[in-house]
C-alpha cells in the first residue's frame, strides 16, 4: 500500500477512538530549532460532516491484530488486507502535515502485532523520532496497549502528553462477552495503574483517559457509570469517553446487540459531566428500573424533578452546590452568579439570562428576591410529572 492508501485504511480503523482533545495547561519548552507548541484550550483544525473535530492525526500503527475482540473490525478472525506504518514514515508524514497547520497533534493507537510490547516499542519509536529528531514540542497522545509492560509505559510517558487504555467494558464479566482473551485486571487495569504512577511523578500533563464501547456487551448505564466513578476517584482518570456501539460487520461478529441509539451515549456524557463538573455523586443520579438513564429527559432534569421538594431556590442566597442542581444553570453560570452576588443582587430573569442561565429551564426551580418565576407544569404536563414522585 502507498502512503495515501495506508492513511485511508489506518485512519478509518482509528476513527472510533473518540478523544480529540489537545488541551493542556503547561507547555514543553521551545527554542529556535524546535517545532510545535501547545495551545492551552486546544485547537480544532477541521470538522467532518458528522460534526466531530479533527485535531489529531488519529491512526493505527498497524491494523494487524492477534486478538479476536468481537466489537472490533481489526480482529484476527476478520479477513481483510492488513497494513502498517514504519515509525520513520509515520513521523515524517505527521511533521509535514503539522507544518502545514492541518493538525494539532498525533494520536497513535494500534492493533496488537506479534505482542503488545513489540507493538508498543514501535509506537514509542514514532514518539522518539518526533521528540528527538524533529524536536517536536506539540501534543502526543499514545495508547497503551492491553498488557503493556510498565517499563514501556514509563518510556511512553516521558514522550507523550496523554496516555490511555481503552477499557471497552465496565467489568470483567462484560469484557468476557466481547473480548474473551483479555483479562480485565491484568491486561487493562494494570496499565492504567502504571500510567497513574507516571502522572504522579509529574509526567503526562494531559492526564489519562479511557473509552467504553456502549452497548456491545449488553451492560447497563449504571455499570458504566459505577466504573467511571471508580476510575475518577481511585485511578485519577481525567475523563471517560463513551462510544455507541456500531456493529462493524454484522454478519460475522458474535455480538447480536441492537444498534445503540446515539442519545444513550449523549445521556451518559451528561451524567458523566454531572459527576465531573456539577459536584454530583453517583448516588445523586436517578436511573430507571432497568438501571439505565432516561432517554426522554436529561439526567439533571430527572434528578431535579425527583427532588422537587428542594426547590425553588433563592438565586441570591443559594449555595454554590445548590446552584449547580438547578436545571439550566451550568458550572460557568453558577460561578458567574456566585461572583456577581458579592457585589450585586440579581433582580430579574434578564440578568440571569445575561450571565448564561437557560432561563426557560431554570424558571420553575428558582426565586428572585423571594418571587416565584415559573411552575413545573411549564416543563411537562402534571400527569407526566407524577412519574417522578
Amino acid at each position: 500500500m502507498d502512503t495515501e492508501q495506508k492513511l485511508e485504511v489506518l485512519g478509518a480503523a482509528a476513527k472510533y477512538d473518540i478523544c480529540a482533545s489537545t488541551s493542556i495547561k503547561s507547555s514543553r519548552p521551545t527554542g529556535r530549532d524546535t517545532i510545535g507548541s501547545h495551545a492551552p484550550a486546544g485547537i480544532c483544525h477541521s470538522y467532518t460532516p458528522d460534526g466531530r473535530c479533527v485535531s489529531l492525526l488519529k491512526v493505527l500503527m498497524t491494523n494487524s491484530c492477534r486478538n479476536d475482540c468481537q466489537y472490533c473490525v481489526n480482529r484476527v478472525s476478520n479477513d481483510f488486507e492488513r497494513s502498517s506504518f514504519e515509525p520513520e514514515e509515520l513521523a515524517k508524514l505527521f511533521i509535514e502535515l503539522y507544518r502545514r497547520n492541518y493538525l494539532e497533534g498525533i494520536f497513535l493507537s494500534s492493533g496488537v502485532q506479534k505482542s503488545s510490547n513489540y507493538t508498543m516499542e514501535r509506537m514509542i519509536r514514532v514518539a522518539e523520532i518526533l521528540r528527538y529528531n524533529y524536536k517536536y514540542r506539540g501534543y502526543i497522545h499514545l495508547k497503551a496497549l492491553p498488557h503493556s509492560s510498565p517499563d514501556l509505559i514509563e518510556r511512553g510517558a516521558q514522550l507523550a502528553d496523554r496516555m490511555s487504555v481503552n477499557l471497552e467494558s465496565p467489568n470483567p464479566d462484560r469484557l468476557k462477552l466481547i473480548a474473551a482473551e483479555k483479562n480485565f485486571m491484568l491486561d487493562l487495569i494494570a496499565p492504567i495503574d502504571a500510567i497513574q504512577k507516571q502522572i504522579q511523578k509529574g509526567l503526562l500533563k494531559a492526564g489519562q483517559t479511557t473509552q467504553f464501547v456502549v452497548g456491545a456487551a449488553g451492560e447497563t448505564d449504571l455499570e458504566l457509570l459505577k466504573t467511571t466513578n471508580w476510575l475518577y476517584k481511585k485511578k485519577g482518570l481525567k475523563r471517560a469517553y463513551f462510544s455507541a456501539f456500531v456493529p462493524p460487520d454484522e454478519q460475522r461478529t458474535t455480538i447480536h446487540e441492537p444498534r445503540v441509539p446515539l442519545l444513550r451515549e449523549h445521556r451518559l456524557y451528561q451524567a458523566d459531566w454531572l459527576m465531573r463538573f456539577y459536584e454530583f455523586k453517583l448516588e445523586d443520579l436517578v436511573l430507571q428500573q432497568d438501571a439505565n438513564l432516561s432517554l426522554d429527559l436529561d439526567p439533571k432534569m430527572v434528578a431535579a424533578l425527583k427532588h422537587r421538594e428542594r426547590f425553588p431556590l433563592e438565586i441570591n442566597t443559594a449555595g454554590f452546590k445548590q446552584l449547580l442542581t438547578i436545571p439550566g444553570v451550568g458550572p460557568t453560570a453558577a460561578k458567574r452568579i456566585w461572583r456577581v452576588r458579592q457585589e450585586h443582587r440579581f433582580t430579574d430573569l434578564n440578568e440571569l439570562r445575561n450571565v448564561g442561565v437557560v432561563v426557560k429551564r431554570a424558571k420553575p426551580f428558582i426565586l428572585i428576591n423571594g418571587k416565584k418565576q415559573g411552575s413545573f407544569s411549564s416543563i411537562m404536563p402534571v400527569k407526566q410529572l407524577e412519574l417522578f414522585t
Binding site: D33, I35, S37, A41, T48, V59, V246
Partner: protein, 240 residues
C-alpha cells in the same frame, strides 16, 4: 537563519513597517494574551474565584478583555468600552466580566469576536512551505485587527521558519521575533506550481475520519461558520 529570496525581496522594500511603528496598537511583546472566558477565568486560581474583592486577577482579566475589544473593527467600540469601564468602577469588575448588564454583554461580545477570529485563523489557515521550505506561507481574511495576534501564534509554533501570511491585502512577515507588514498592492507571491503531495495525504486522512452513522451537518456549521468554508477546502471532499 538564512532568509529566503522571497523574504529578502519584501524585506528590502523600504515600505515595510515593523509592527508598532505603524498604525497598530501594540508592539508584539505587549499584545494581549489569548482570550479567556471572562469572569470564569478566575477559576484558574483554584478557589480564588469565589473571593472577588481585592482579587488582582480580576483586574488583569478585565485589562485583557479591554485590550481585545480595542482590536475590534467597529468604530463604536470606544463608546462601548468606556461604558464598560464606568460600570466596572460603579458596580464592580465581576459585574462586567460576568456580563450582567446589556452594556457589559456588548463589551464582552467585542472581545469575544476578536478572540474567536484569532482562534479560527490559527485553526483554519493552511500553511504552504515555499522557498526550499524556509518560509511557511498562508492567506486569510480578517475583519478585526488580529493579524499580529495570529502571526505571534505561528511564530511561536514554527520558530525555525519565516512565516508569511497575507491578511486581506496586506502581507505580514514574521522573522527573528519581529513582525513586518506591507500592502501587497499588485504584487503576487510566487507559489510553487507543483501540487503538494501532503495536501493529498491530508485529504485522504480527512476522508477516513468520517462516520456516516453520525452525520450532523448542523453541528458542523456551528463549528465552522459559512464564512470560513473557503479556507477549509477539505469540506469539498464531502460535497459541502
Amino acid at each position: 537563519m538564512k532568509n529566503s529570496p522571497a523574504l529578502i525581496r519584501l524585506a528590502e522594500d523600504s515600505h515595510l513597517l515593523p509592527v508598532g511603528e505603524g498604525d497598530t496598537l501594540w508592539a508584539p511583546s505587549e499584545l494581549p494574551s489569548p482570550p479567556g472566558r471572562g469572569c470564569v477565568d478566575l477559576a484558574l486560581t483554584g478557589e480564588g474565584w469565589k473571593n472577588l474583592k481585592g482579587d488582582p486577577a480580576a483586574a488583569e482579566i478585565f485589562r485583557r478583555e479591554v485590550s481585545l475589544a480595542l482590536l475590534h473593527r467597529d468604530p463604536a467600540k470606544y463608546a462601548v468600552i468606556d461604558r464598560a469601564i464606568e460600570q466596572a468602577k460603579e458596580k464592580g469588575i465581576s459585574y462586567v466580566l460576568c456580563k450582567v448588564s446589556t452594556e457589559a454583554r456588548k463589551f464582552m461580545k467585542l472581545a469575544r469576536a476578536v478572540g474567536a477570529e484569532k482562534y479560527r485563523a490559527t485553526a483554519f489557515i493552511r500553511l504552504q512551505p515555499i522557498d526550499q521550505h524556509r518560509v511557511l506561507y498562508g492567506e486569510f481574511q480578517i475583519e478585526h485587527q488580529t493579524a499580529e495576534l495570529i502571526m505571534l501564534h505561528f511564530m511561536k509554533r514554527f520558530p525555525k521558519f519565516n512565516v508569511m501570511i497575507v491578511f486581506n491585502s496586506e502581507v505580514f512577515i514574521g522573522r527573528n521575533k519581529e513582525i513586518f507588514r506591507q500592502a501587497l498592492g499588485d504584487r503576487k507571491i510566487d507559489l510553487p506550481k507543483a501540487p503538494d503531495e501532503f495536501e493529498r495525504y491530508w485529504l485522504a486522512f480527512y476522508r477516513s475520519q468520517y462516520i456516516p452513522e453520525r452525520r450532523n451537518i448542523k453541528y458542523l456549521k456551528r463549528m465552522i461558520p459559512k464564512k470560513y468554508w473557503k479556507w477549509v477546502t477539505e469540506l469539498k471532499e464531502f460535497g459541502l
